[in-house]
Symmetry: D2
Subunit: 444 residues, 4 copies
């Protein structure tokens, strides 16, 4: 069944090719499609395009359907083109002709735009929750191991003393900046495209402000041509923000993969978190972190894919935009799985103590020595030359003691500031009011 | 069941995360895994690591399994990690302990490397076949419509006369260069990694030259460290070549989408090849070509994704490489579907005649007029200025007659040269000898 | 001269290769390097690492140098490695040994991090200003031409009536969402990395909160390891935001290139804004917009380039990060040039009236007719079928009248809401307080 | 001066913006532009569009100009748009009106296409030469250090014994596959676009076969529309091949950066090849290899940039294509610098002996032990379990002896096969006949 079917049949080859994975992807949109329809028909009734009874009947059926979807009892049937058609089919089977009225004053274009935005809002909420969990774990690890020193590297060369406190805390702080970009993406997504129809508006006297409020959006996508332009653009901006979180996870995973290498040996994990080799009996491989790293890279490739699909296309809808769903929608599942497993695994990390006692790390302390000379009056450039000569002569003696006191240093992590900065960013996500709006829509 | 299982259990969370889509992807590798195993055990027997009877028993069972796979009767069971484990499980269930021997002298690393290379060889063969089909269609359309003129554009501005003969023929010729890059990718893939084990070779006296011949490879991946380096690299190079074909299909699709727009109106398609709109009853949308364009862009994003996953990783296997399969393996299905549907649709194209009679196209002929002045002795720069003045004065009269005679021009398409160039490239793919080797392996 | 020179000379080949374009790029950082040094030495004096007179002498010389740079009188000399070395050289030439003290308690790592962040803040301020200019022009054009109808396209097929009011307004609104992402990037950049030294802090009792205030930063990059992680990450996030603006410009340019094509003919530009062809005397090509489109695509490629350079590198500085500057720093110049020229050119656009009178556009009105049937009581699905039949029969009569009244539609653009939304976003950029801090630093 | 100038002036803003870096890039094309013009006028005379004397005068002046360019005495003057205009200007200044005739029967479109193809041919020849140099160095190092063992890693975990022989040899072999893709790119580039004019051919009776032979091309770009389609496509395909070489260099550089880390310590370099730190006196950083890695990543980003610029553009020239030059042309310089410096540095590598004596590496030998059990009759799966238990019990004793004998293994590198495979690929580049053709053109 197709909403637009005319007198002739589309060729089977064409149909198979054009449907692609649409049904598979649309399952993710189903609850949001129903929510959007409830808002739409509530508005339709308010402008006289639906009788009060019709609204009441349709709304009840849609709320039932919503719960059915939540329980996993929803399929897009073979031969049904998309979620919108399936929902309409469900209603007409149950209620007859009135079921068709949910599409008055809408196009599939603004309907799918709306579904995607509602989907994005919900997924970002999940992601933020998982980011916060990981953040808490990292801060806790930073505090627990704040006195355990490790080498700090630059150029993959040993450089200066660092600590597990700094290392865990750095990744915690990294997530704050990532969430700043995710919050911007949320703001871009949190605007109402409904009523833009096929991208040029409608001759119906729609009340778009009303659906904006019913759905808890911050604002309209005002201009209907721009509302349609949001397709592809919103996904790209959201994917950029996802890629920023992914970058943090990927970098952490890369550090982990090195640090558990026998050549570093700073950390380890319980056996049940590692995997083996089919031919090397001694191997305990960090597959989890390698896959987090790889999945992070895959997510980082997503904005570019979306850009490639959309660039150099003139304004107005193109079917190309449908294809974005195929990698965009599962990317949330992937990202959230990475956040989850990283949190699960990193919380079981085993940290090695006394690492810096190994003689190979003694040069780490060269700057400390140079700085002490400076504090006694030597210019830094001269102190630097003195220590460099000691190292070349082999007369350098490392102090093995670190006295860093400034903000954010080994001895003064300021994790409480990092925590309060995180809280500030979290407070800028309006999840509560959004959820309240949706709750009202489904319960009134 | 895991080939590398030790005394402890891997955590369920880790297991679920690390397996990912491996089973789903490995189905595509199954026939090739079996073929590779047959070659491997044949070699093992030749160096005394397998008894002649064992070889005979194992080979028979593997050939049976191959046919089972071909008939679609093969699944990777829940709890079985990958295709290699499933094949071993199949053999041990059927034959007992001897089933385990197919893994002697191998690692999963060289096994999956081999599977991927055999998979790539087969898929490229399919792709080449489909490219040739489309090429033939395009050449035929070029010949059929060689006298139907269309505007030629530069800067999306009407520029000079062109023809459907040129337009179809150009895309045919484009496929030749694309196949040149695909043939290079085939050469890179057509080298034997078997025997490289985990990337550092083996203390068994393997005969890698023998498996090279049995499997019809052109040559060894000689150095075992390089053989392992081929993972990710081979996929990237193959993906680049696929992206070149995709680029040609995408450009053709973009032309089609414009030319069937009412603002051009050069071509149309039978109703059953177009799709409709849910709100605009007059629409006949070129969704097929829009999706070809979008899928082409997606394939063009693939080399970058592979590069992102693999870059800055040191030599040696990393689990990250497994993840490449997720988008790489389906890309062949996608590309081949695009080739197929483009051929199907373009062969039904309806071409409009008399396009250039529209007055808006008369300036197309300005260069023809300038050239005539040149042939009568004016310098081109002066002729250019004369015609430019006529156009600005409104005194320009278009001849509406095109007399292009040189090689590759409207009046002299030289499609026969294009066809012979295509044949030359096709001849460089050694499909016949490869297929002969595989046939022998499965039938002796 | 190199800050780190030891007893041996680096090979000339190595030196040439490693310096690359560093000097060329560092010129852009020079004023910011000086500003950063002033803040740093002010803090050094406060913690007793610099005498009050030394501070006063150094500060005066640095302020002089700042003005010299502003006047374009600053070069990085042949043989001097980077801007930091050049500034030190300048000071020691002028003031002797004390000049070296500006580097106490710093590494080149936090110094260049700081320079980049100050550079980014300034450049974003310029970009926001240019975005606002273009926004104003677009809103004005939207108002001026709000009653001039054009066809609205979907699938490059004529779809429904649109207007120049909608078209210009859509791009104005697009810039708002772009600035939301730019503001997030600004927030990420607007944090103080100074004091992180080589990424592991310092044994000096630095007062990082003080430099944060002196430089007008919103907050510290607290954790020193994270501060260093900001290198590459900040550029990537800023580049993403730049790519969003670029995407808007590119799409507008693509529309322009089509709409001035003779096959659309909706708009034109004065002759002096177009360019000609070397062989086609009739051509007036939209090269400006083609180059805006291409440059936009180039900028959109930038985040991926940065990601490629940085991915899979462990934490800690790597020299790779220096290379990001080569395409990142000029990207601002490119983006700002695109914003400028788009504003310059689009403000001279010539709009065609009466476009929809052409018979080819009559089907645009099919939805209007269907909607009228709906308003009279027909269900939309039935109305759709009726109109579709009329079109197939040739009995369809277009009303040529558009009565869209809802928010954001042809008849109710709501540009005032778009303007107030823009103002809200502009208000979130703290340019004023930042500039005040810098002004104080340079004038006290 | 502009070839296409009409009666009006282009606005200064537009002119500045549209010229961009064209003049800077065109310098690289200058010698090829002159060569192309000599071939073109030779052909023009043969079809009667140029008198024999005119040809002789023009050719002499062009050959003089060619030598002038070779000596670095060529500039594109301020106000002159591009190399083609500058060459014409040079000729008309020297010879008067006849100078203009070199453009008869050509457009700037086919002229720049030709220049780019000649440029690409020459640059690829340089690149191949440098690849061969590096290859020879790597093979020599592989032979020299074939008996020095190092750990082989998988998952960054120690895995099995490897050797410097394998490590150097692997990168040598990698270059062979890279050249296979470069040779395909060369074949795509080595076809003659001249005579395609603005992409739609010409009404002049051009002899394109003649210019094909004069310029030493393998074949025509036959179809003129396809010839124009080669713009952007050729660059993309060449950039893909460049990215393959870059990937090999980047991976080698990544290995080097790890192996000189104090945590590995397998290799070192003379002091004059490393660089220092401004605050850490002990540092000897591998900046060269870090920059090779970063530049490799930048080159690997190039194909995607070209794809982004060109995708979704309909056939026919667009000004966007000009912008590709900005990053494409310098990429050869970058790649060649990376090849050069890698060869320079790697040839001075200092290799550590006795690495595997460190106890941390003893598990490397676990597979050797398992294999010996297999050779004595145990199934591999059982041998694997036995050794795994020994390792878990701490009873494992490493043999410290490697007996790998198969092709491509530690004990049997087969570098002579690798060398002969390289020679085979080198032989497929037709540099000799190409250079012969160009030599004749410049000397007859």
């Amino acid at each position: 069944m197709k909403l637009w079917q005319k007198g002739f049949e589309v060729s089977k080859e064409i149909e198979k090719f054009t449907i692609g994975k649409d049904r598979e992807m649309d399952i993710f949109l189903a609850p949001h499609d129903v929510i959007g329809s409830i808002a739409h028909i509530t508005m339709l009734q308010s402008i006289g395009l639906l009788a009060a009874e019709e609204l009441s009947t349709l709304k009840k059926a849609l709320i039932d359907l919503y719960h059915q979807i939540e329980q996993g009892n929803f399929v897009i049937e073979e031969g049904v083109e998309d979620v919108h058609s399936q929902v309409e089919l469900h209603l007409t089977r149950k209620l007859g002709e009135v079921g068709k009225k949910i599409h008055s004053g809408r196009s599939r274009n603004d309907q799918v735009l709306l579904d995607l935005k509602l989907f994005i809002r919900k997924e970002i909420e999940n992601t933020v929750y998982l980011v916060k969990n990981l953040f808490d774990t990292l801060i806790q690890l930073s505090e627990t191991y704040k006195n355990v020193l490790i080498p700090g590297y630059t150029h993959y060369q040993i450089a200066m003393p660092s600590s597990f406190g700094l290392w865990f805390g750095a990744y915690a702080e990294s997530l704050i900046d990532d969430l700043i970009t995710l919050q911007a993406a949320y703001r871009v997504a949190n605007k109402n495209p409904l009523g833009s129809a096929a991208g040029y508006g409608s001759s119906f006297p729609l009340n778009r402000t009303m659906t904006t409020q019913l759905l808890g959006f911050e604002q309209l996508n005002v201009n209907v041509v721009y509302a349609q332009m949001g397709r592809g653009k919103t996904e790209r901006i959201v994917a950029q923000a996802m890629s920023n979180i992914a970058a943090t996870l990927g970098k952490l995973a890369q550090d982990v993969c090195l640090y558990i290498s026998q050549n570093f040996g700073f950390i380890s994990f319980p056996d049940e978190l590692t995997t083996g080799s089919s031919i090397m009996p001694h191997k305990k491989n960090p597959d989890v972190f390698e896959l987090v790293r790889a999945k992070a890279n895959k997510i980082m490739a997503l904005p570019n894919e979306i850009t490639l699909i959309t660039t150099n296309l003139a304004s107005g809808y193109h079917r190309d935009l449908q294809l974005i769903k195929e990698n965009f929608i599962p990317a949330f599942t992937e990202l959230n799985a990475c956040l989850n497993i990283t949190n699960y695994a990193i919380s079981q990390i085993i940290v090695k103590e006394g690492i810096l006692e190994d003689k190979r790390y003694e040069h780490l302390f060269s700057v400390e020595v140079a700085n002490e000379l400076v504090l006694k009056g030597t210019s830094f450039r001269d102190a630097y030359r003195i220590v460099a000569e000691q190292i070349q002569n082999g007369t350098f003696v490392a102090p093995r003691e670190v006295k860093h006191t400034h903000e954010g240093s080994i001895g003064n992590l300021k994790n409480e500031v990092i925590q309060s900065e995180m809280q500030k960013v979290l407070n800028t996500f309006p999840f509560e009011q959004v959820n309240k709006a949706i709750h009202q829509l489904l319960n009134n």
